[in-house]
């Protein structure tokens, strides 16, 4: 489980996060949603340690991650997998090398074992046989799937996903969502997903945190979200005509 307590983040005069506390539940998809500029990605970066919070703490299974130095964080980081918005695959490496990269650095596996693991991860994301391709040769959806394969190569306890559906067509988006959902259950991971895609919210949002102006505005599940009377959340969720039509049918 991941717990965040009173997270504040300020950039100069700009207060991006204003005291956010939450628990992210193990074995479930925890979604952070909110409009553009609400602080979703900043919160995610504070949790994983890419930004240091101005105030507040992050706990991974009870251990205070915020107070740790670089070396102390390494054992926890080896249990973290992350899928970035633009996949962040290493351009100079093939798909296989990308997936094997963390294994090369942090395990004592033989070359054959690492290759087996890379092949397994690629099969798991339906990209078997694409080992020797470079990121530039992949489509957006394939890059996301390779990113997921790399993220799960170390069998992480925690999976962080930043905008998994950005730039993808609806069909591929659902495929990526389903994949994340399956992997979360399969590995019993604590998955934290930053998104503003309502298909993801309604499809896999078991635990949702809604941010508004850098504050936690609402918390609940996808079953509860359609019936909330929170004005800002309603404005966000039912902004599209598709969602308005769906609400009318409820």
């Amino acid at each position: 489980m991941i717990e965040i307590k009173d997270i504040h983040k300020t950039f100069g005069e700009n207060k991006v996060l204003k005291g956010i506390s939450a628990n992210f539940i193990a074995g479930k998809n925890n979604l952070i949603i909110g409009g553009s500029g609400s602080g979703k990605t900043t919160l995610l970066k504070c949790i994983v340690g890419l930004h240091e919070p101005t105030k507040g703490s992050v706990f991974f299974s009870g251990e205070n991650f915020t107070e740790m130095n670089f070396e102390q964080r390494v054992p926890i980081r080896t249990h973290i997998g992350m899928l970035f918005q633009n996949s962040a695959l290493f351009d100079s490496m093939t798909v296989e090398e990308n997936i094997m990269f963390p294994l090369n650095l942090f395990t004592k596996q033989t070359a054959a074992e690492k290759l087996d693991r890379a092949n397994f991860c690629l099969e798991r994301v339906n990209l078997a046989g694409k080992n020797k391709l470079y990121p530039a040769e992949l489509s957006g959806g394939m890059k996301k799937r390779v990113g997921i394969a790399r993220a799960i190569s170390m069998q992480p306890k925690y999976l962080f996903v930043d905008e998994p559906n950005s730039g993808l067509d609806p069909k591929t988006s659902i495929l990526i969502d389903d994949l994340i959902n399956e992997l979360t259950e399969e590995y019993n991971m604590t998955t934290v997903i930053v998104t503003h895609d309502m298909n993801s919210v309604m499809g896999i949002g078991e635990h949702i945190i809604f941010l508004h102006n850098g504050e936690k505005w609402w918390e609940g599940s996808n079953k509860e979200i359609a019936h909330t009377d929170n004005k800002e959340l309603n404005d966000f969720v039912f902004a599209s005509k598709f969602m308005q039509a769906a609400k009318a049918k409820l």
Partner: protein, 243 residues
Amino acid sequence: MFYSLGKYILLLRLSFRKPEKFSVYWAEVMREMVSIGVGSLGIIAIISVFIGAATTIQVAFQLSSPLVSMSIAGKIARDSTILEFSPTISALVLAGRVGSSIASQIGTMRVTEQIDALEIMGVNAPGYLISPKIIASMTMIPLLVIISITLGITGGYIACLVSGDITPDDYLIGVRDGFDGLTIQVALVKAVVFGFIIASICAYQGFYTSGGALEVGQSSTRGVVYSCVMILFADLVITRIML
């Protein structure tokens, strides 16, 4: 300025922290050596031959007096090549070729979140990205300078054969006359220092890039400009200290 200097020193300290796995870093060093050393061989060969040839012709032109032995031209061309042209001009050219490549590579990795991906995995990103480049640069640039010296002196010989301003025999006598090993030491010290300057300054500029493609280009330009200025400054300091 002091803020940037502090940030630069801290980045260098992070770059030389104990590696997570030596074999992975060693492979990176080898890859960078090929990229920096073998990749720069062509341009270094071309400029060295031409500069050696041009220097010899110009020195011969300036010494066109019956009172001065023409073999002196060979001697002056040799010492100029060893002490100044090969290390400094090569370093300035390499700042453009190698430095811009280092800054843009690391800068692109920064803006496409590849450096964030390394950090999330628990990899010491400055160590993995910067230290192999500095080590490779400090190793390969002295080797390139040695090749450049050889080709520069050869270029002078070719100029003698082609132009006839000095006879090849006079040139060879001059090249052999009064050779002092200290000049080679000075050239190699310069090459090692210039290698460090190019790789570290350009890596620093790339590592702290923020924004997009435009900023990557700006970082690359800044890296090359600052490297060139620091190369010329270090050239003066080393020359003053060692000669």
